[in-house]
């Protein structure tokens, strides 16, 4: 076994490029997660409401997100909107749209689940105390629901970061793509670079996702 590719890692701007690629992945995921949490909370509350039409619409939406492969969504949003509406969305905007579309659905469903898990009697008692619906949600229900949501939503964030590699289909260069580029550019000089680079990429993902998971379990314990 010759070099494991660690020399390639520090050649030229390679390491910086990898970090840049990682930042692309993290940026897309974080923006999408923030949007997803905001929209997901609203969606979850609406889904536990009484409006049948709204519920049906959300059901279909959820089903679409569950079943559509993300690659198809990326193609549809990035290329499809140009074909149909003539919009020229940037790859990043398309990626964020797709990831938020996915995240909002999952978040909404989680919020719904968490809200349903809170016993009816709490809503009734709070209303009996003269609180408005908004007050009931903001001060009684949501704080409890959010606590149950934490581990699940963290799960979603880390999954999103790991799914961002798909954005290479629409021309965005994120960490895995950079790794592939480096491997290919140095295939002759250092044929085993793949191992070193994939190990580094693995560590990079871990270095990003693990602290997020730790934070989640810390919050979970603290708020319990």
């Amino acid at each position: 076994m010759r070099s494991l590719g660690l020399d390639v890692l520090f050649k030229g701007k390679n390491f910086l490029r990898l970090l840049g690629g990682l930042w692309v992945a993290v940026r897309i995921s974080l923006i999408s997660v923030v949007i997803s949490i905001a929209l997901g909370l609203v969606m979850g509350m609406l889904m536990t409401g009484k409006n049948r039409v709204l519920k049906a619409v959300f059901r279909v939406y959820l089903e679409i997100v569950r079943i559509m492969p993300q690659m198809v969504l990326l193609f549809v949003v990035y290329f499809g909107t140009t074909r149909v509406f003539g919009w020229d969305l940037s790859p990043e905007a398309s990626a964020i749209a797709v990831f938020s579309f996915w995240g909002t659905a999952e978040m909404g469903d989680l919020v719904r689940g968490a809200l349903i898990g809170i016993p009816r009697i709490q809503y009734e008692s709070a209303e009996a105390l003269g609180m408005t619906t908004a007050q009931v949600y903001l001060q009684v229900i949501l704080p409890q629901a959010v606590r149950r949501l934490i581990p699940l939503s963290i799960n979603l964030i880390t999954r999103m970061i790991k799914t961002t590699s798909l954005v290479m289909m629409i021309g965005m260069v994120e960490v895995l793509k950079v790794a592939q580029q480096i491997i290919e550019a140095n295939r002759k000089a250092s044929p085993n670079a793949a191992f070193g680079l994939f190990a580094v990429v693995l560590l990079m993902y871990f270095a990003i996702c693990w602290p997020i998971s730790r934070l989640a379990s810390y919050l979970e314990k603290r708020w319990a």
Partner: protein
Amino acid sequence: MKKAVIRRAAAAVMILALTLALSVAAYASDGEYRTLDEIKDSGVINIGVFSDKSPFGYVDENGDYQGYDVYFANRIGEDLGVEVNFVSTEAASRIEYLQTGKVDIILANFTVTEERAEEVDFALPYMNVSLGVVSPEDAVIESLDDVGEDDQVIVISGTTAETYLTKNEPDIKLQKYDAYAEAKTALENGNGVAWANDNTEVMAFAIENPGFVVGIPTLGSADTIAPAVTKGNDTLLDWLNEEIKSLGEEEFFHADYEATLLDTYGADYEETLVVEGGLVAGAGETADAPVETAKAGG
């Protein structure tokens, strides 16, 4: 119970309807593109290239695009008097980029085939491709008949080798990979009996890896590689064809080969690989007949 099933069925119908609507709408509005003048006025040309297919299109350690295709792309920008904006493409999205006008030209090692010529317009070719098969020296595959019933031949998805074997040797089991690095490691690890790919690639592999020999140096019909533009973008297509012809006079693609491919393939393959002025050696086709070339490629 029933309700859940009905709801799911409704969702399924919705998804199907949505997909169909999108694809129909997409077909109705095919062929967005920028004409030659529009490109010149904007001062930028968008060219789709590979970013991980060394030595044809790749990114070096400083983050700059390099390779045989890229060398040509830079010359196009120079002669048009515009800047080149490189777009990193994947095999599966090359056509889509052209059809939505998100790039003006695809220069991503794009082999001319009949099927593709229905979707995009190919300019004159600038490179030859032929197939070859490499295998371990203790079990050399010298003809496709040597491939046993349960043996698998490694190919890379979207390459001419795959198309050729699928069409002409449907009984041979293929083991397909997405990337070069994966296919090569799989061959080293003994996951398949042989690797079929462009003959240039397999020869380079055999030179660099002792223990492997090229049992089949050429296979099937000769294909060509050409730039592609959006269907109907005649101003750009005509300009490209003229450009390729006039570049032939200064032996541009030989210079391109020497700058980008010499390291990998040595001087022996220069004449086999390079197509100058759009004229495929020996095929006897005139430079004005890209359609003929397209058929030969199928």
